[in-house]
Amino acid sequence: MLPVGTRMMAKKSLKYMPILGQFMVAGGAVWVDRGNSALAVRSLQAAGEEIKKTHTSMWVFAEGTRTSRPYHDIRPFKKGAFHLAIQAGLPIVPVVAENYWDVYHPGHFRSGTFKVRGATEFPSTHVSRSSDDSSTISASTCLHRRFDGGGCWRSRHTRSRADA
């Protein structure tokens, strides 16, 4: 289970939600400006250093946005999570939720159960420190594969396996 003392990364507009925003501020969330990548990178650098200092973890939804489809699908990851991991020298741990289209999708909601799976960590040393795009992209494809091999998919992506 996630240890106590995990922080969240969220888009900046969430900050101004009535109650949730204040709560997340209180919980020390890291805010990312989605429109402005330079600002985002800077805030991530600050966050990475702070994480290292305070010895906490970080939760990131790396796709950057929501994707609800009847079959399993993961969008290409944004680089923020990798920047952060490199910055703080922390491993990346994928946590995958099974596709829960039958439980909830816009316009449909019923009771049910779905699985969430944690996978083996992915050391950020695999990602080069030069922070050029190709290395983060390769890391993200690697993680993608691990997500797919999580073993809890219901549909067409089950054939790919996790490796290394």
Binding site: V93, V95, K115
Partner: protein
């Protein structure tokens, strides 16, 4: 019989108590008893407040009726205005008669039996009242969501917002004490955990976690996939169980100290 506050709180509670008593009667008796009771209750008040006025009013009515009767006997013809006023007078007379009859039908013993002691609210009512207040809308929402999936969708969405707001409010309130203890980032934990436990019970969605051993390392960067708004919900599930409730922790430490001398 004491005459005091006519519209005071005691009166109101008395009415409530009467209504409560009526609830316990069988249905066949209820309506008649209710009517009698209410009539008695209201009229007593009227009589008491306007005893003189009522008496004067009744005598006036009698006079009007007499006049009408005399006119009828004398032929009943007249100008339009006269007829009109006659009709109006008759109408007043009729409504006055109804009131008079009602007044007459109030038993005098009922007047004497009214006690002015206010009924205090019982302890049971103190518990039952909030249950009734929450229970009825909850039941209605439940039946509604059973009846149509369309309604269920919206009800569950509203519940999502409400419970998320509640739990994050709770987390926000917990922020200061946690900060003072030096565990600032546990705020997320408190909020997410509360949200999961509330919402999973409300909508009956469960999350099963596999590979928990991979989630226990720290510090690290967790990367999750983002499907819908419900991701916040399973995030709450992932956060469960490593937390020890502080009093329990204290007891545990005390126990271990005691055990080790």
């Amino acid at each position: 019989m004491t005459r005091g506050h006519e519209f005071g709180a005691g009166r109101v509670w008395q009415g409530v108590a009467r209504a409560w008593l009526l609830q316990s009667l069988p249905l066949s008796e209820r309506s008649t008893r209710w009517a009698e009771d209410m009539k008695g209750f209201l009229l007593k008040r009227i009589i008491r407040r306007h005893k003189k006025k009522v008496g004067k009013f009744i005598s006036q009515l009698r006079a009007i009726r007499e006049e009408i009767r005399r006119k009828r006997i004398g032929g009943g013809r007249g100008t339009g205005r006269e007829i009109k006023s006659g009709i109006r007078a008759e109408y007043t007379c009729w409504s006055g008669q109804v009131l008079y009859n009602m007044l007459c039908s109030v038993p005098k013993t009922a007047l004497l039996s009214v006690s002015t002691r206010p009924h205090t609210m019982s302890l049971i009512a103190l518990i039952l009242k909030p249950v009734a207040y929450i229970g009825l809308p909850a039941y209605i929402l439940h039946r509604l969501s059973q009846a149509s999936p369309f309604a269920a969708y919206y009800i569950r969405n509203i519940l999502y917002v409400v419970s998320l707001g509640f739990s994050s409010g709770l987390g926000f309130c917990a922020a200061l004490p946690l900060y003072l203890v030096g565990r600032r980032y546990d705020v997320n934990y408190v909020g997410a955990r509360t949200f999961y436990s509330i919402y999973s019970r409300l909508v009956g969605v469960k999350v099963v976690v596999e590979g928990e051993e991979y989630l226990q390392m720290r510090p690290c960067v967790y990367v999750g996939n983002h499907q819908t708004m419900l991701d916040v919900f399973w995030l709450g599930r992932c956060v469960v169980s490593s937390f020890t409730f502080l009093p329990i922790l204290i007891v545990r430490i005390a126990c271990s100290r005691w055990a080790h001398g």
